[in-house]
Amino acid sequence: MIQVKHPQDFWSGALFAVVGAGALWIGRVYAFGTATKMGPGFLPNVLAWGLVLIGLFLMGRALVIKGAPLSGSAIRPQAMILAAIFAFALLIERIGLAPTVVVVAVLAALASKEMRWKETIPLGIGMAVLSVLLFIYLLGQSMQPWAWSF
């Protein structure tokens, strides 16, 4: 029976092989060119093949050699951090920097089970004031402190 004995290597191999294969598929239209006049497809193709081969090698080896198991993931913190980042992307141009920062602070803080509202709200407001002062007034970056455009 085939058994994955080295999950870390097996899945990294799979990742490399899939990315490599994807790059080969997308890159199939880029001209390979000749050695003297290399086309835009030359290096990407060579690299993608390398990636596919290493990926397959790692997957194969992981069936034979034993290795460390994957360590567990805590779903909540990871999901909350990513949610905070995507919330920023969604909100920044709609409600402006200050309210966005407060929302992001709360979402990010929820990643930790020890989150306390009494701490997080002042932290969010403080960061909002600070980022508006620093990024908009001091560094003159083009963001609205607040806005309402949906």
Partner: protein, 499 residues
Amino acid sequence: MDVFSNLGIGFAAALTLQNILFCLMGCLLGTLIGVLPGIGPIATIAMLLPITYGLDPLSALIMLAGIYYGAQYGGSTTAILVNLPGETSSVVTCLEGYQMAQRGRAGSALTIAALGSFFAGCVGTIAIAMFAPVLAGFGEKFRSPEYFSLMLFGLVAAVILAHGSVVKAVAMVILGLLLGLVGTDTQAGVTRFTFGVTELYDGIDFVPLAMGLFGIAEMMSNLDRKFEDRSQTQKIGSLWPTREEVKLAIPAVLRGTGIGSLLGILPGGGAVLASFASYTVEKKVSRSRHMFGKGAVEGVAGPESANNAGAQTSFIPLLTLGIPSTPVMAIMVGAMMIQGIAPGTALITERPTLFWGMIASMWIGNAMLVVINLPLIGLWVSLLKVPYRMLFPCIVILCCVGAYSTGSSTFLVMMMGGFALLGYVFGKLGCEGAPFLLGFVLGPLMEENLRRSMVLSFGDPIIFVERPISLTLLLMSLGLVLMIVLPSFRKTRDVAFQE
């Protein structure tokens, strides 16, 4: 001597009020993130890149460099007092430093670490001033084949020095190279792997990539673990080392500085390797070997000097040849590009004020750091009491604002989120981010130089072996590869990373 007149230009440029302030700011920030575990110089410099857009190039580089070597100082504080490495390069310092602290010699360990670092920093600065022009002159002979071989050497070194599996590190380099090629191929005028996204036409933006992959991903892995209680810090005690301790420390500092300066220049070397190597050497040559593991003074003095010397001299390949040898230097390339400066052999001759100003600022910064670290030690210790749950939302916010402001585009923020997830997955799979980042930065440069070499030789790859410098570099890469294959070296490499 030429070096002194050049350093004169440098000090004149670095000693303006504005530049002193930026140097101080960089050193303070560096110490801060050095003290705080869970946030490193790569992420911090990446986060600050957007802030440097509006700055004068010299001030920007002075500040960013200060963060890097400042972090080497700060990292030792946490290592000694809490037994947590504030930075990867201070992992070794925990071994002996914390033991010294338990014996009530924390203050002395801190002083030795800071003064050793200061000495090493001064020597490192002088080393840059002396060798950089020589190397740059040598580099002027470089044409595309030499550059290609040099970058290949750098990548091979990065693979060897990465932790864990060599095969995976190779794959990470290739993946980085491939991602570096995303965007418009300027020679053929074709866009590659852009999926029609306009933000990708100029290539994947460096800032969101680095922040996601290093800043946020690192934080996400931290959140998987339970937090160590950081409130239990050891008492600092007297800052003065005893005469006996000084006697042991001085030769260790000298050895550490030498090792660090040399290893820092090597591609892939930098501060981390230097401190590991120095610890191994100290353990071998020490006359009081029985003290190792119980708080040997040499075990603090050597590695701490080595990591600072290495941090300084790792600027040499960047400033002279334009080749980043460590991930932090890769970020510095990003910073220079933002300012419209092409790092390379021409930097010294074309922008002497910038080059020498930066070097002079490193000396000034090192002097500032001694003051920042010793008398103000209490302040940094109290910062350790800030719980991580307050810290990481701030990091998320700074990264988001930073990613957005690199191009005023929400796509960049989402891309950062994507890279954060990718970096987190890499961590889970035991894949190292450093080779990936180097590949990413070097990808486009390597393609360009490969193409040019091939045009020069009418498509014959023999050009890489015909030219002596290129051949030497290739042979050196081959030597490194052979070293991995040899079982005896493999063993030492495993041991070195385990300690």
